[in-house]
Subunit: 346 residues, 2 copies
């Protein structure tokens, strides 16, 4: 029994968290445990059992009734599982200690899950593409609503309504709308700030489509931008484009990040790019791989990730330009179709 | 250094999950680590640091900047912490392994946290009471909308809008609206079923007020109930009232559950009461104590919990009557002010 190349025989993957249960079974349900080995068996309790059975029909995944921990132990004993792979990044110490009592060897499944989930299937890419189209169109449809006096929250509401109307299931995370100096805070909490003339307007948002996320940031300007804003915008955009043009299958995350970082350093904004270049996107808005100066993982065809350089100037403004992209045929394919030139409103 | 009676000196509590960080600091923030010992120190990263400092002003809790794990290790070394209590039910194996490298002894804080959080302060009780008032009033205000042809989802939307208008911050969980045979599924997912004449109408919902939850279930009947429905309703209501009248400070969870269960057994519904009697309510909708046949914990003054017997008849209907109550002066005090008599509509 092997669930992955190189795992010991008699080993199985026990998937406990909701996102990974969905990934490995194709079905999203509130509670349960999914065993992945020669067969896939999905345990859930009486509340969800009938719904699960229904949803799994024809999928090849078996539904099983979970009444107590004894059912897991009994399954492990019956199928002869000797090594159980669980995800150390989601399994709690309490759960781990319980599995220990089952008399199996326990190993960390996270590296395997990360690698597997990071290479997207054609179907997954289709869902992410649709999610990207929705969020980009909603963004451009929202631009006419950027007017003096509108609040961040009002603009957020208009924007999210457009996403829903375009077919988004939900937002992938709490939309950031940041006016003026608020745009200098990378994780600004959208509030009641009113838009004043001559302010940056940063929107960072993503939608979910069939469970899959998109992630977009654009920084527009309301009024007449001064030279500094335009210079910073230009540097951030070049960093974004340089990274997208030069990342290849096989580039390490560290090197990918370095492409954008080197350009911003050269432009004099070394200390203003305060986060890493990007992160994987899929069923989760932040997932493996992480395009950070500290990660040596190599990017692969099928990876979907963000490229989001930024430069932040406390009490003045910030600029971030973020795309969601796909690595395909060795090179970056953009999932947003726009030229990213600075948008000046009014 | 002691954070609780009976903990070793040189011990500290490290709180990592969001709910408990909120509980022990009074502040709700997306990310961070809170140390509780002689002093309370709340670490968070650059994204949240200024907001945290602001929110903690005057609270006695110190804000500290988190840059990397080294900051935690350095704090532990500097303050001489020898034993670190962490919550095994939320800390992951990955985190646990990281703390292990800090050279401290690690113990499970969960039993301490459960006991502490289960005894509510006057302020917490005030918030829960308000949350209970909101959800009960919204329920009664929604009754006129129960009409032939309305869907579960439509009724849910009307109800949740009323909760928001009455001051609820959010719903505490996804509202269950179940018509007819759907009411026989304790965790029914609200859907597009239309209301037909002669159907049970079960609503299970809770709101949040200042972060604190309420939990209410009522089962009405649309049309002319038959004898079976009325008989079952009567038995469930008696089980509910018997439990509320007889639970005392010092009653074990098992005995509390048994009061309601014995009555339903006597009425002939032994196999139809398929879940446990109730659960604690507070910052979380399900928290310690659990009023289950398998729990020996003793109920205490200050505990807030649900009393929710039910009886379910597959393909016919189900009845559940759920109150949120407070244990005060040794006895149960009801936080919902209604007589729970069967509501027959039309």
């Amino acid at each position: 029994m092997r669930f992955m190349k190189g795992s010991c025989s008699s080993s199985a993957l026990l998937v406990t968290d909701r996102v990974n249960r969905r990934y490995f079974s194709g079905v999203d349900i509130g509670e349960g445990f999914l065993f992945v080995a020669d067969e896939k068996v999905y345990f859930t309790d009486g509340r969800y059992f009938l719904a699960l059975k229904d949803k799994l029909a024809g999928s090849g995944v078996k539904a099983a009734l979970y009444r107590s921990e004894e059912d897991l132990k009994e399954y492990i004993d019956r199928t002869g599982i000797k090594t159980l792979y669980v995800d150390y990044s989601t399994v709690t110490v309490e759960e781990y200690k319980k599995y220990k009592t089952f008399g199996v060897k326990i190993k960390n499944a996270r590296p395997y899950i990360d690698r597997k989930r990071s290479v997207k299937s054609k179907e997954e890419i289709g869902f992410i593409k649709r999610s990207c189209e929705i969020v980009l169109k909603a963004y451009y449809d929202t631009l006419p609503e950027i007017k003096e006096g509108v609040t961040e929250r009002e603009l957020k509401n208009v924007f999210e309504k457009k996403c829903a109307d375009l077919g988004a299931e939900a937002m992938a995370f709490d939309t950031i709308v940041a006016f003026g100096e608020n745009s200098a805070v990378p994780h600004h909490e959208t509030g009641d700030t009113k838009l004043k003339n001559n302010s940056a307007v940063l929107i960072d948002a993503g939608t979910l489509y069939k469970g899959y996320a998109s992630d977009l940031t654009r920084t527009a300007f309301f009024g007449e931008p001064d030279e500094k804003f335009l210079k910073v915008y230009d540097a951030v955009l070049k960093a974004n484009i340089l990274a997208e043009e030069n990342i290849r299958a096989g580039t390490t995350c560290k090197v990918a990040d370095g492409i954008a970082r080197a350009h911003l350093e050269k432009a004099g904004y070394k200390d203003n790019f305060t986060h890493s270049l990007g992160h994987g996107v899929g069923l989760e808005i932040h997932e493996f791989p992480y395009l950070s100066p500290r990660r040596e993982d190599k990017l692969k065809n099928g990876n979907v990730f963000t490229v989001e350089p930024g430069a932040y100037f406390g009490e003045e403004f910030g600029v971030r330009i973020e795309d969601t992209v796909l690595l395909k045929g060795g090179k970056v394919e953009r999932l947003f179709d726009d030229d990213k030139k600075p948008i000046i409103i009014k």
